[in-house]
């Protein structure tokens, strides 16, 4: 499950990077940037485990 999740996140990350860097044009870059930040802001609120790093 972690493996497929990691692959999906990597592909999403590459997609966001290409879009933000302007490969699909300026309007798409702005939309991707806003979407990335909004998504990040939602994820920032998730509670985190506080155990020992492993």
């Amino acid at each position: 499950m972690h493996f497929f999740g990691a692959i999906a996140v990597t592909l999403m990350g590459i997609g966001f990077f290409f879009a933000i860097v302007g490969v699909f044009g300026l309007p798409a870059a702005i939309v991707a940037l806003v979407l990335f930040i909004a998504l990040a802001a939602v994820i920032f609120r998730r509670p985190q485990a506080e155990g020992i790093p492993r």
Binding site: V9, G13, F16, F17, I37, A40, R46, Q48, E50, P53
Partner: protein, 472 residues
Amino acid sequence: MTVDPGLIARVQFAFTVSFHIIFPTISIGLAMFLAIMEGLWLKTRDELYLKIYRFWLGIFAMGFGVGVVTGIVLSFEFGLGFARFGQIAGPAIGPMIALEVLTSFFLEAGFLGIMLFGLHRVGPKLHFLATCMVALGTLLSASWILSANSWMQTPDGIAMQNGHLVVTDWLRVIVNPSWLYRLPHMLVAAYITGSFLVAGVGAWYLLQGKHESFARRTVSIGTAFATVLIAGQVFLGDIVYGTMLQHQPAKMQAAEGFWEKQSQSPAPYYWFIVPDQQNQRNRFALGIPYLGSIWLTHSLDGRVEGLKNTPRDRQPTMGWVFYGFRVMYGIAILMFGLCTASLWLRWQGRLFTTRWFLRALVIMTPSGVIATLGGWYVAETGRQPWVIYGLLRTADAVSPVPAGALLSTLIAFVCVYTLFMAAFLMFAWYMIRRGPDLSPAQTEASGSVKNALRPQVMDGAASREPAASVPL
């Protein structure tokens, strides 16, 4: 053996300015971070924010001090190594440097003392104001310096009359064509540097199993800031790229590592080249197919312009520009990847417990500084052979000073700056190892470094009343 004074003057300035830029980058980033931490403490009264503030204040103060001292040297070097530049560009550059002193240095000098020593002596709100003013001062300082440097990259608002430069429009000198894009690019670079610094130290504490609540908060805040900022920086970087391609095509041609007027189609994106400037070709090149066309022309088969589009006597040296750009861009990609990973781990609730991620954060602690240095190497070496683009060549800007004088001062700078760097790293390491629990409630004016490091001074400072109990 005859040594070219121009070469030594350039090496000397490159060395001193490369050393200098490390510290303003750190202090701009940390000043904003400190203002946010103190603001959060005032809003929430959560003591952890104050602890984070107190811990990073000491490292900020050291970086700020070294940055000011090494910055002053640069002004003198205009006279020592580049007097002709000062003579010609003085009417435009001089007032901007003076305005930097008037606006930012006066602001910083006025409030820095309160920020460092005033936590127990003034109310928390006035202290917060002092922190914000210092952060604003660092921002203004960057604005003026970027304005002066951007004017050298894209000069505007001037005319040459009888061999003398005359300012015809001050607004166009200050708000020159590249300043509006380069300033946010540099500021965001400094804030990213601060974010990775903070997150890296927090990650190191978590891996050591020390100061865990402090470490978790700093890793969380550092990676959150870094995630938002790196996305913004990737966006800004592309806009700066387009602007510089318009104003300084030779710089961007050199940055991509292509020589021919039109590259092959589809163009690869080179990550490693061995350029042969003499024969205008690469001896070796290693890249990713198609990626050059996709990134640089936004199509699958676009061609990229090479350096032969620029006459030889106007070409920068490709190696410096190419590798400066690759260092900056390569680190930006790593940062973006790590920040995306942080989002994935946060989603799973494993941000503080994933060892490989924390180790990666520790390795990336100085990444912002290295990327910023790479970016400045692109800016400065890519502008060559001009010191003021299209107006004054670097070779014509050098002082009529013997090579020996320049060499001896270069050696002196190397020795003194090595001491500065060693001292900074030693004290920063000492503070990090000591940890946030023993950070003094405020920076102590102890009179001597030796006295400041005595255990009883530290213990005494740490055991005093926390600032939260001080009434307004």
